[in-house]
Structure formats: C-alpha cells, structure tokens
Symmetry: C2
Subunit: 137 residues, 2 copies
C-alpha cells in the first residue's frame, strides 16, 4: 500500500464539473479517455493529492449508470500499489470481494483492479499499479 493515488468524482460533463474546483484553486493537469472503463477523465492537481473527474462516454457505462441512480458526486477511492496482482490476491484472501478477477488496463499505462463496495463499507476501491517509471502529480 503506497497511499491514496486519487479520488474519483463522477460528473456529467468535465468542463462544468471542473468549475467549482477551479474556483477553489485546483488546477487541471490533463485529460485522457479510458475506453475500457467507458469514461473520459480529467486529472486535477490539488497540490497534495489528485482528483480524477470521470465523465461517462455513454449512458450505458458504469459511470453513466452511477450518475443516473445516485447523481454526480464522490465515486471511488484509489490506492496506489506496487504490484496490483499481488494486492488484489491479498485483498481477496482477506475476504474483500473483487470486481475484477484479474487486473485490467487503466489510465496512462497503469494496471488496475476494483473491489466491490459491498465488501468495503459502501466504498468502491480501485487498486492502481502505475506504469513502471511513471511520474505522477
């Protein structure tokens, strides 16, 4: 466990979603589309910690369905790990329930796996292994 990688926030639209954070002095770093997760993301650098705004590419995606059922807001909490396969196995052996049985591609060459919120007190947890050598804000 290498700490919090980012906080994921679901928004219907990246520009409108970013506006309140810009008002609070948080700057935008970059956008990236993650087709495997059905989202376009915008990274915001708070100075200590990263926010990942997530806008759905279509209504019939996990984030699209989240927005339809719960509205915009806090979506997931991502922990950075050195080895996502090992971290996923350790989590499952501790009784946490995986959404991904094997890690899958994430943003910026990372490999990620999600844990089911029902096994983590209602919080959707993402485990993120950054691309080797990746420099992150």
């Amino acid at each position: 466990m290498l700490g919090i990688d980012h906080v994921g926030i679901a928004v219907p639209d990246l520009d409108a979603g970013q506006a309140p954070y810009a008002a609070l002095g948080v700057r935008s770093v970059e956008d990236e589309e993650v087709p495997d997760q059905g989202v376009r993301v915008r990274l915001l650098d708070t100075g200590a910690g990263t926010i990942e705004l997530l806008a759905p590419l279509a209504a019939d995606t996990p984030v699209g369905r989240f927005l339809a059922s719960r509205g915009p807001g806090l979506h997931h909490l991502a922990f950075r790990v050195a080895d996502v396969r090992h971290a996923l196995e350790a989590a499952v052996s501790s009784g946490l329930r995986p959404i991904d049985v094997v890690p899958r591609p994430g943003r910026a060459g990372s490999r990620v796996a999600f844990l089911h919120p029902r096994s983590v007190g209602g919080v959707l947890i993402e485990l993120v292994e950054p691309a080797s050598g990746a420099v992150r804000p």
Copy 2:
C-alpha cells in the same frame, strides 16, 4: 489551497468500518470525538493521504442522517487551507454555497467550514485550517 487534507467516509461503527482498510494495509492513527459535528472519527494513515472514518454519535446527526438515507460510503472531501475564513469568503464570492457562514471548530484544534454539495457537483467539501503548528500525518 494546500491540497487534500483527508477523505471522509461514513461508517455505522468505527471498528467494523476500519476492518477492510486494515486488510488493505492501512493503519489507524487515532480516534477523536467531534461533538460539534456529532461524530466520533478515526484517522487512518494510508502512507500518502489520510482517511477519516466518521461514526455518528446519534441517529439525529448529519452523519446519522447520511447513513439512513444513502448508506455507508464516501462522505466528504476535505481541502487544507492556510486561512479558512479567507478561503470560505473566496469560495462564496466565486459562487459556491456555504453550509457554514463562519468557520467552526473541527478536529484537533482545526477550524473548518463546509460547502454545500449542490454547488460542488454533489460533493460535500470541507475546508480545513489546521491548528497552528499542528503536525499532521
């Protein structure tokens, strides 16, 4: 804006709520009661970033009502600021809607103010000015 201070997570019970994070390798730092907010909190140190578990002191508290209506899960996102009064004024003058018109006492001698989630894309934002000289995990 000095970055993310902590991520607040609502749980019915601190010990049960902490268990999945302990399984992920996140250690507990300390507990504190914040009567003004009707909660008992437990700080968890992830190695990079702090989680604040919040258990309500009674059903008729903001966190008690949150648990009753939405269930346990991600509750708020806290930004650390140098001067909470100034940060609150700047946020309001940018069009964000305050819950607290003036800052109030927070955990560990901090002063805090909350912004209304309707003005921040569904996210309850806390502005935190740590106690002067405070050392935080």
